[in-house]
Symmetry: C2
Subunit: 209 residues, 2 copies
DNA sequence: GCTTGTGAATCTCTTCACAGCG
DNA sequence: CGCTGTGAAGAGATTCACAAGC
């Protein structure tokens, strides 16, 4: 169950989301075809992914939804929950707080940071905000290993280094900048400006496929 | 210069961003190595990408920055500019307005929509907001072909169909939902919840590579 | 020497297609 | 039968490595 590819991780996450929805609708078993159809991949892909994590559906009638949700959880989640830091309380950061607060049972934003004193020392959407100066101590105290970075591009490298130094091992980076960090720190970048340029390109040229 | 892969488009966008920064710093030529290093890919990858769009640097001393920026622009941009619609003025949508308004010379959000009358009929960050009912006429009038979708997941499918019907050809989808649309419409989804789960996973397991 | 441009090799990811099972 | 699990084939993307230019 060791090295699972990034693509597979993403799809597992999608599968789980859908499975939970199906379970809420009262279903308890599902075929790879169905899962594939709803998530937008092929059935073979679904079976491969489940094979990769070592999950077996009974051949009889597809996969047991509840079991599969649990199994995916064992792969993706930290059983004891995962505290997350949000760094940068600009427009985007403030918008993400309620967005992430809403959903996840395991992932929880427990601390927010900003360099602007006007934005700190408060509680925003149930999350305490601290001045940047307290970044390292708070992250260490709360044992935070995952951070969301929503600072301006110019500050991103510096702040990410502080995060890494404080012990953060994964950064979800929204700043339009490339972060250079030790290999022990994983970075996943969401570059919305690039995504918009891409979709504008695709809209002009005909659709691929 | 025809079918360019999605990956390449994204990287071209990155290259351009960097090139503009270099040009602002007074530089006028650049080697593939340098570009690669700063963007986080290999030099061979850079050269492949430029080959793919048919750009030739002089062998003498790398690539002419200004020419390359222009060339990438010819590939990516609609020369007459690209009007964009934003649909969904919740927290995220409102945060994206200034974010996108800031930067791009060609891509410009010219209309925003929301189903909540309290949020419409105003001008937010220089962008006029309309009630959803006016979605189709406004999009047709403004000849909008690109839309950013920031509505709740439950509404995403329906709204995206309206967009498609109104003539939109590319959708940047932030809703955690899979859109089923005619193949003529391109969809690029940014699923922040999935991305956060992924980075949490990577933070727990050691880094890949 | 240092580049770029590029065929060929490699790696990674996805799909095919079928054995095996209930 | 129609399903899952999976070896093998296929597609795509990346890197290697080297010819050719200045």
């Amino acid at each position: 169950m060791n090295k699972i590819s990034g693509r597979t991780i993403e799809r597992l996450s999608f599968y789980r989301r859908l499975l939970i929805k199906l379970a809420a609708g009262g279903e308890d078993r599902v075929y790879s075809h169905r899962l594939a159809e709803e998530v937008g991949v092929t059935a073979a892909q679904v079976r491969r992914d489940l094979m990769e994590i070592g999950f077996s559906g009974s051949t009889k009638k597809g996969y047991d939804i509840e079991k599969l949700v649990g199994f995916i959880g064992k792969v993706l989640d930290n059983p004891s929950g995962e505290p997350v830091a949000l760094v940068g309380l600009g427009n985007l950061g403030r918008a993400l707080l309620p967005f992430f607060a809403a959903h996840h049972p395991k992932l929880k934003i427990v601390a927010a940071f900003d360099s602007d004193p006007a934005k700190t020392g408060r509680v925003i959407h149930g999350c305490r905000s601290y001045p940047s100066r307290e970044l390292q101590p708070v992250i260490e105290r709360e044992k935070i290993r995952v951070a969301i970075l929503t600072v301006p591009a110019a500050a991103a490298q510096e702040v990410s280094e502080e995060l890494a130094a404080a012990g953060v091992k994964g950064i979800l980076n929204f700043a339009p900048a490339m972060l250079r960090l030790p290999a022990a720190v994983s970075v996943e970048s969401i570059d919305m400006a690039i995504a918009l340029e891409k979709i504008a390109y695709l809209a002009r040229r005909g659709r691929a496929e």
